[in-house]
């Protein structure tokens, strides 16, 4: 058991790191549980980010996240590359247990675990995952040089994946169940102008074929019900993401969208001292910059909560000797 802290942040996307920057600058010495293999969050799997303010030429997603991490560390945030396996959030002192067995305790927890890729939920999807079925174009696109592949989805991430994949593939089918796209205008136009991308509207993917590797998919017309087989060697799934809340089921209230319920525009959950930020509370916008803003809200809410705690609780927080030397601001 390590010493009692003021703030533990679970998650290391834009929400988690921005909360860490604010909490660290408030001299709360946050501990960020960043995950063992997903530190930096979703943006680690993207390429060019063109809509994050302050980068007029765009910035690579991984580079942006490394900069956020460095900024948090500069002000004294501690970052642990491990995964949370369980949380006890009910009492005045919250405890967080990690995959390596370490238990950390804090007076507040900021929960910013983001979301996880949604699956199609059809047969053979799991079996062929990694064998032609993919959720990460930047990781796997390279292996589909001169191949024909399909992307399923209608949002920005589907457009981005399809456009990125044309660097490698000869042809990319973009399959969308609706008749119009959710994606932003600029992303739609870029994909539609690409001669390698063929849009197939009003179709769902119902089958994935292949013994060892994907060889084709079965798509069904949502109006006529007719099924067509497309010979593709890859299927990239970009149909959205679900808030990652399994760690707090039974402890934190959820909304009908499955996101963590927070009080109004704040980050306050149903449990005192527990705050939530980023995609895990956001069923609507889910942008890097809205997540970052949400992380700011959570850090400020945690700071106010800590300020109002009784002295006997705050006195239990062990302040390391070197903390007096930490200079913040400027």
């Amino acid at each position: 058991m390590s010493e009692l802290r003021e703030v533990i942040i679970v998650g290391s996307g834009p929400a988690g790191y921005t909360a860490a920057i604010y909490a660290a600058r408030a001299n709360l010495r946050p501990l960020v549980i960043a995950s063992s293999v997903e530190a930096g969050g979703e943006l680690m799997k993207t390429t060019e980010v063109e809509n994050y303010p302050g980068f007029p030429e765009g910035i690579q997603g991984p580079e942006l996240m490394i900069k956020m991490q460095e900024q948090a560390e500069r002000f004294g945030a501690e970052i642990v590359l491990d995964d949370v396996v369980s949380l006890d959030l009910a009492g005045d002192v919250k405890s967080v247990t990690l995959g390596n067995g370490d238990v950390h305790e804090a007076l507040t927890v900021i929960f910013a675990t983001g979301s996880a890729y949604r699956k199609l939920g059809i047969a053979d999807e799991d079996r062929l995952s990694g064998y032609g079925v993919s959720w990460c174009a930047t990781c796997d696109g390279f292996f589909f040089r001169q191949k024909t592949i399909a992307v399923v989805g209608g949002g920005d991430s589907a457009m981005e994946e399809a456009t990125f994949l044309t660097k490698f593939a000869d042809k990319v089918y973009l399959i969308h169940r609706g008749s119009s796209l959710r994606a932003s205008k600029v992303m739609q136009e870029r994909a539609q102008a690409d001669p390698k991308i063929e849009f197939i509207f009003n179709h769902t993917v119902e089958h994935i074929y292949g013994d060892e590797l994907v060889t084709g998919i079965g798509i069904v017309d949502t109006t006529s019900g007719a099924e067509t087989t497309l010979d593709v060697s890859g299927l990239f799934i970009a149909i959205g993401a679900d808030p990652r809340t399994h760690l707090v089921h039974g402890q934190l209230d959820l909304t009908t969208f499955g996101t963590i319920a927070v009080d109004g525009r704040s980050s306050r959950t149903n449990l005192p001292g527990v705050f939530a930020a980023g995609d895990v509370i956001d069923p609507t916008y889910r942008q890097a910059v809205t997540a970052a803003g949400s992380g700011t809200v959570a850090a400020l809410d945690a700071e106010h909560y800590l300020a109002a705690l009784p002295r006997e609780l705050k006195d239990r927080v062990e302040v390391p000797a070197e903390r007096a030397d930490v200079s913040v601001g400027a």
Partner: protein
């Protein structure tokens, strides 16, 4: 940086297929974020089980022949070789306990 020895298209036969050890090949690339994330975990597993398994890396950018031969379509892809044969494939970056569970039969 990874501690694992790099193998190539040219050295694969000698370093992996002809080896009498249990060898896990980590197929990776510079541009693959999950590959970078899992690399230190593989180093730890290799260090903790040095008598059981050797872990080497193959850069798929520089060594397309082996990536193609083993039908890699997603990285990180980790393939365990014994006596020149693939006996286990693990795909995707996973936390250490999950990787140890996947590889349990080779680490015990």
């Amino acid at each position: 940086m990874s501690d694992a020895k790099a193998v190539t298209d040219d050295t694969f036969q000698t370093d992996v297929l002809d080896s009498s050890d249990t060898i896990m090949v980590d197929f990776w690339a510079e541009w693959c974020g999950p590959c970078r994330a899992v690399s230190p975990i593989l180093d730890q597993i290799a260090a903790e089980h040095a008598d059981k398994i050797k872990i080497v890396k193959l850069n798929v950018d520089d060594n397309p022949a082996m990536a193609m031969k083993y039908q890699i379509t997603s990285i990180p892809a980790m393939k365990v070789f014994r006596g020149g044969q693939v006996v286990k494939t693990v795909i995707g970056a996973k936390p250490k306990p999950a990787l140890e569970a996947d590889l349990a039969e080779f680490l015990a």
